[in-house]
């Protein structure tokens, strides 16, 4: 990375914006088909009734809320990790932050659709918005679903701002380099960024405020998601551990999602010189720590229930440990701990391939974890007379596949419209490195477009 000149960095990272291969169109076409299929399925579900799902009494939530919690969990990679790395001033973060922040925005948007999709009458979802309606009634502020509504919207607005702010200088760079319709579009997107010292100062303080503010928001979001369950007197839902347990699980699955996304970007956008093995190594260590933390939480939760020996909780406990849900439970333990732990703990295995394999396991495992929190508890709720079961239908599966395709599609489109690695941040990093080496500030002429030089026309020099 250090061997690259600023011009090369800009050229490398802007290439995906200006050059498009047939692979891009093929990918968009295939992914788009899945997304369209999911939307059509949703239409069919609305037209026919939610009975086309597999949910039945007493399992009224299943794939829908599993996907909701899963995607909200994935969204915790980006903004949270990026904010922590920014605040900790970890220099290796520079190529990672943006592709992490994007995950948050897209995963959150996808996750937030599920509370709407899963409604019996989705067309009335807007009743959760507190406004002076003709019905003369507010939403019920005691309901965790209303807390969800506010928490998710706050997090979404926050992470969109957190993502967009540091893109502005890069959009300005594209604007200055592009011609034709691209120039017009990026002129609007750049919001009049000129790179003046004043603008740089403002950007810096805004990012600082956002980085601090977004951390408690992220923690609160998944805590509130966990309270959807913890606030109901359902066996093994009604637990004080759920808040931190869910937050830890969210960060865990989020890091896994980030590693997979980075590996894909590295491969398909040829970013081998930017997303280095060191990034995967560092994130792998983080994933290892979260894997241990996840195991600790599961162990603590299970042990407490077992010793408590409360009959209704034990019914749920045994159905997951060695009953109908046991195969899923032990697959989850394998995917979240037994497989990733050795891969991530042994330095030799903590390669790019290794971390990706571990991450794929974690993503599957964490999906199962959410499913196993929701369904067994409902299926074994108190009176054995009304115990039940659950089986998904093609409708639920199509919707789920559609969300995964949607995530990849949004990510693909985004990497076409925005440099997926922050160009100016890399340059700043480069300059700082040079400063450290030469023990003196580098003259602005040597490095165009730095936030210290504040030359408005700096971007143009890159075009040479």
């Amino acid at each position: 990375m250090t061997k690259k000149s600023p011009n090369q960095i800009a050229d490398d990272l802007l290439r995906p914006l200006f050059q498009t291969s047939w692979r891009f169109f093929a990918a968009v076409g295939i992914l788009g088909t899945f997304v369209v299929a999911a939307f059509a399925t949703f239409g069919y579900q609305m037209y026919t009734g939610i009975g086309v799902w597999g949910i039945r009494r007493p399992v009224f939530w299943a794939f829908d809320i599993t996907n909701f919690v899963f995607w909200i969990g994935i969204s915790h990679a980006g903004t949270l990790i990026s904010a922590i790395l920014r605040l900790a001033n970890a220099t290796w973060r520079r190529p990672v932050t943006r592709c992490a922040e994007v995950i948050t925005v897209f995963a959150l948007s996808i996750g937030a659709m599920f509370p709407i999709i899963h409604l019996g009458r989705p067309w009335l979802a807007f009743w959760l918005i507190p406004y002076g309606s003709e019905r003369g009634i507010w939403p019920n502020f005691r309901s965790p679903l209303v807390w969800d509504f506010f928490a998710i919207n706050t997090y979404l607005i926050g992470s969109v701002a957190f993502l967009t702010l540091p893109i502005l200088p890069d959009w300005a760079l594209v604007r200055d380099k592009a011609a034709g319709w691209r120039k017009r579009v990026y002129s609007i997107l750049a919001l009049g960024w000129r790179g003046t010292p004043k603008q740089w100062n403002r950007l810096e303080s805004a990012m600082h405020i956002m980085a601090i503010a977004i951390i408690p928001v992220a923690v609160s979001v998944h805590t509130i998601v966990s309270w959807d369950f913890a606030m109901a007197p359902v066996p093994m839902w009604h637990s004080t551990i759920f808040g931190p347990y869910f937050v830890a699980g969210a960060i865990f699955s989020g890091i896994a999602g980030l590693i997979i996304a980075m590996a894909a970007l590295r491969r398909f956008l040829h970013l081998e010189e930017y997303l280095l093995p060191i990034h995967f190594d560092n994130l792998g260590k983080l994933l290892l720590m979260m894997s241990l933390l996840w195991f600790y939480f599961v162990f603590a939760e299970r042990l407490t229930v077992w010793y408590g020996n409360e009959p209704s909780e034990m019914a749920v406990f045994w159905t997951t440990q060695r009953g109908a849900f046991a195969p899923l439970f032990w697959t989850m333990v394998a995917c979240n701990f037994l497989i990733p732990f050795p891969i991530l703990a042994i330095k030799k295995l903590r390669t790019i391939t290794g971390t990706v394999i571990a991450s794929l396991g974690v993503v599957v495992g964490m999906w199962l974890e959410r499913f196993l929190i929701i369904v067994p508890s409902l299926a074994r709720k108190y009176s054995p007379y009304s115990w039940g079961s659950y089986q998904p239908t093609w409708v639920e599966i199509t919707l789920m596949v559609g969300t995964f395709a949607g995530m990849v599609l949004l990510y693909t489109l985004f990497s076409k419209a925005v440099p997926i690695i922050s160009i100016w941040e890399l340059k700043v990093g480069l300059q700082k490195e040079l400063e450290v080496r030469s023990q003196k500030p580098v003259a602005s002429g040597q490095l165009p477009e730095t936030r210290y030089s504040g030359q408005p026309a700096a971007d143009n020099q890159l075009a040479d």
């Binding site: 026919t48 009734g49 939610i50 009975g51 949910i55 039945r56 009494r57 007493p58 009224f60 939530w61 509370p115 899963h118 409604l119 019996g120 009458r121 009335l124 979802a125 009743w127 959760l128 019905r135 009634i137 939403p139 019920n140 005691r142 309901s143 965790p144 679903l145 209303v146 509504f149 959807d228 606030m231 109901a232 007197p233 359902v234 409902l378 709720k381 108190y382 009176s383 007379y385 009304s386 039940g388 079961s389």
Partner: protein
Amino acid sequence: MEPKPQKKWGMVVDLDRCTGCEACVVACHAENNIPTVGEKEAAIGRAMHWIRVERYYEGEFPDVRVKFMPVFCQQCDAAPCEPVCPTFASYHTDEGLNGQVYNRCIGTRYCANACPYNVRFFNFYNPVWEKPLHLQLNPDVSVREVGVMEKCTFCVQRIKAAEIQAKADKRELKDGEVQPACAQTCAPKALVFGDLNDPNSEVSRLARSNRATRLLEELGTKPKVIYLQRESWHDEEKS
């Protein structure tokens, strides 16, 4: 004149009287326009019976006795279904009933998950009544559309009608004047309905019985349905 205490509707279910005939289930379906969902749907657990008769087997073969337990909305005073509803579709009425406003329901199904008794039912499809069943729909009860939750109301339409009639007649509601369909149809008189705030009502008298117990009382839901039963059939025979 002292203001009359607010009504607090409750029901006593005498399990020692219940024969498990399920007449209450049929009466409830007819009174409350509850759709029948069909064989296939019922088989996967989507049958809608606001009142159901649960069967439990006691003892070891061949000395086995069957126990019947009618279960319906327990009209909890501290109902878990109420705080979780984001739109106030599930709410507490002045008379202590767990109201369900169908028009407010958006179908999150959260209430059904929170209910420990599993007595809430969801309209997975728009209800249909095969001809000529559509002619027997009760005009006093609204028909629910797809995507909304429903449950036992203690036949609130009957309660309201009786209250309005009593008010028009300028008199108090008499004990036993209001009968939900299930209680009205119960041949062995296992179901008794009335005002728990009136110490002289039959339901209050029975609720004070030493046979009285409540379902899943330990959850703190304060149910207003009281079950009467001896310790077990075997104890009765031994004594």
